[in-house]
């Protein structure tokens, strides 16, 4: 497995309209999209949402191979979802795959759930593909500002999320290096029975944890030594501002969501 080829929400630089829309608009749009995703029933509604998402992807100019690489890590989950529904749901038998029956209900349900999951992952990915992490933190912090009145550390929460996001590629690279180093010492990291595989993961897991804790320590120290004191009194250089672009983008998203809800309801 080439771990270093995995992209989970890695920013894809660009100058498209999606890259320039206020990150807060994008976050709200993505949240609304996900909520509607779980309200819509039937394939027609999903199809409308999918078409909307496809338009956004085209607008952002994110190349398909990049998108595909971002999807790879969740592919397994999608296949499992489909398989479980297809083979285990019971009911009317559609056909047989060797000795295993495939159920009509299950196939339909499975396809629906898989499509929903796919759209869910894609909508989240588009957000992080088109927004640099720094802007994402600023936007999350601003959006959660009202929570600070309830004594919830909104800015800190936003920062935590961004740091987590920021460290995914770093950890992926480290895992890749550790796997290579341990493989060179004969550690098996794929293949074999469950027990063998579980044991095979220890040589990777232990160093990874040790390093993660070290990273966290070092980062905390570095932030403190540069006088980081949380969100209080912090000013932002890049002021976020809504503009006409946001209005256009929000209207378009709303229209797609309303249409999909409408069509979904007809069922």
């Amino acid at each position: 497995m080439q771990v270093s080829n995995m992209v989970v929400g890695q920013y894809y630089p660009g100058t498209s309209i999606l890259h320039r829309v206020d990150p807060r608009t994008k976050i709200i749009a993505a949240c609304a999209f996900v909520i509607v995703l779980f309200m819509v029933n039937g394939f027609e509604g999903l199809a409308v949402m999918g078409a909307g998402l496809a338009a956004v992807i085209a607008l952002a100019g994110i190349p398909l191979p990049w998108l595909w690489r971002g999807l790879k890590p969740v592919l397994f989950l999608l296949v499992i979802t489909l398989a479980f529904q297809m083979f285990l749901s019971g009911g009317e038998e559609l056909w047989r795959l060797g000795p295993v029956p495939v159920y009509r209900n299950g196939l339909v349900q499975g396809a629906f759930l898989t499509a929903r999951l796919l759209l869910l992952v894609l909508s989240g990915s588009i957000l992080t593909f088109s927004t640099p992490p720094v802007l994402l933190t600023d936007a999350l912090g601003r959006l959660m500002e009202p929570l600070a009145k309830l004594k919830i550390p909104a800015y800190e929460l936003a920062l935590m999320m961004t740091i987590a996001l920021r460290f995914i590629p770093t950890l992926v690279m480290e895992v890749d290096r550790i796997i290579k180093a341990q493989k060179a010492r004969g550690a098996v990291t794929s293949g074999g029975g469950l027990l063998v595989r579980a044991r095979g993961i220890m040589p990777v897991l232990v160093p990874l944890f040790v390093m993660s804790f070290r990273h966290a320590d070092e980062l905390a120290l570095a932030m403190e030594s540069r006088c980081w004191r949380g969100g209080r009194g912090r000013t932002i250089r890049r002021k976020l501002a809504f503009s006409k672009k946001d209005a256009v983008f929000a209207t378009a998203v709303l229209a797609v969501l309303a249409a999909s809800l409408w069509i979904g309801r007809l069922q």
């Binding site: 550790i178 180093a181 040589p203 160093p207 040790v210």
Partner: protein, 282 residues
């Protein structure tokens, strides 16, 4: 074992905006039993070169040959034939005791208990550690220098035919560096294991290498006997490298005396040169 690279190029994340060229058309032969050093400025592609040479990274184009066997993604080197230590190999320690960490690879190779024991003891001794007193300690209770030795012992315990080391002395204190280099040279002389070391400390490479390759900007820019490359101050300066201290001393001496002094690669050699000069003067 002879290791060969033929017109190897490497591009990371090709076809994306993050595409980065690490190596360009590098050919290199490592002769069996030799000690080769790969030097170059930071980000020149040294580490990539080592990973490709070891067969853990597959080049974008070009061929990698170990002995008579061509290495590819499908055709990986046989386990235990190549000992590879990345930068800071102590980050990959994971077992509860030093003994079990060092014995990890030989146990994986399916060797019997006695042979495993022999190898662990030899490997620990080779890096200057006492198996009896260190064996049962947790690797995480050791200093970084000691952890580094344990990690290298873990690689040596495979008794590889070629040992590839990426800056094995980084982050060690000066005494530990000197010891480690001496132990590596001894090991090479005793067992004839092929060694390739990546580094940029020229004093260290002067003590280690028989032959030297300089990599800059992903290209091989120089290759030759250590005493020739390391005394060529102009060449080293072009690639942001410093000559060894003794070479620099000799060139300062030449300038001060207005006479050409042959550059020396070691302290012993420098003393000899000085003695000759003094004899000539008196």
């Amino acid at each position: 074992m002879r290791l060969e690279l033929e017109n190897v190029s490497m591009v990371y994340q090709s076809g994306t905006p993050f595409s980065a060229r690490a190596l360009e058309d590098v050919s290199l032969t490592v002769e069996p039993g030799e000690r080769l050093a790969v030097a170059g400025p930071v980000g020149s592609g040294k580490s990539t070169l080592l990973a490709i040479l070891a067969g853990v990274e597959t080049p974008t184009s070009g061929r990698v040959i170990h002995g008579t066997r061509e290495i590819s993604r499908r055709q990986t080197p046989p386990p235990g034939s190549i000992g590879l230590a990345f930068q800071s190999p102590e980050n990959c320690l994971f077992e509860k005791t030093v003994y079990s960490d060092v014995s990890f690879a030989p146990r994986r190779q399916g060797l019997d208990g006695l042979e495993v024991r022999r190898r662990v003891e030899n490997a620990l001794a080779a890096v200057g550690m006492d198996p009896a007193s260190m064996g049962q300690r947790s690797p995480f209770s050791l200093s970084i220098g000691e952890q580094r030795r344990v990690a290298l012992a873990g690689v040596l315990a495979m008794e590889p035919r070629a040992l590839l080391l990426d800056e094995p002395t980084a982050y060690l204190d000066p005494a530990a560096r000197r010891d480690l280099i001496r132990q590596l040279v001894e090991l090479n002389e005793q067992t004839g294991v092929t060694m390739v070391m990546v580094g940029h400390d020229m004093d260290e490479l002067a003590r280690f290498a028989g032959r030297l390759v300089i990599i800059d900007g992903g290209r091989k820019v120089a290759e030759g006997r250590a005493e020739i490359i390391l005394t060529d101050s102009a060449l080293l300066a072009r690639h942001s490298l410093d000559p060894p201290g003794t070479v620099e001393f000799c060139s300062l001496l030449s300038a001060a005396m207005g006479d050409q002094v042959a550059p020396a690669l070691s302290e012993e050699q420098t003393i000899e040169t000085l003695m000759q000069i003094m004899e000539g003067k008196c």
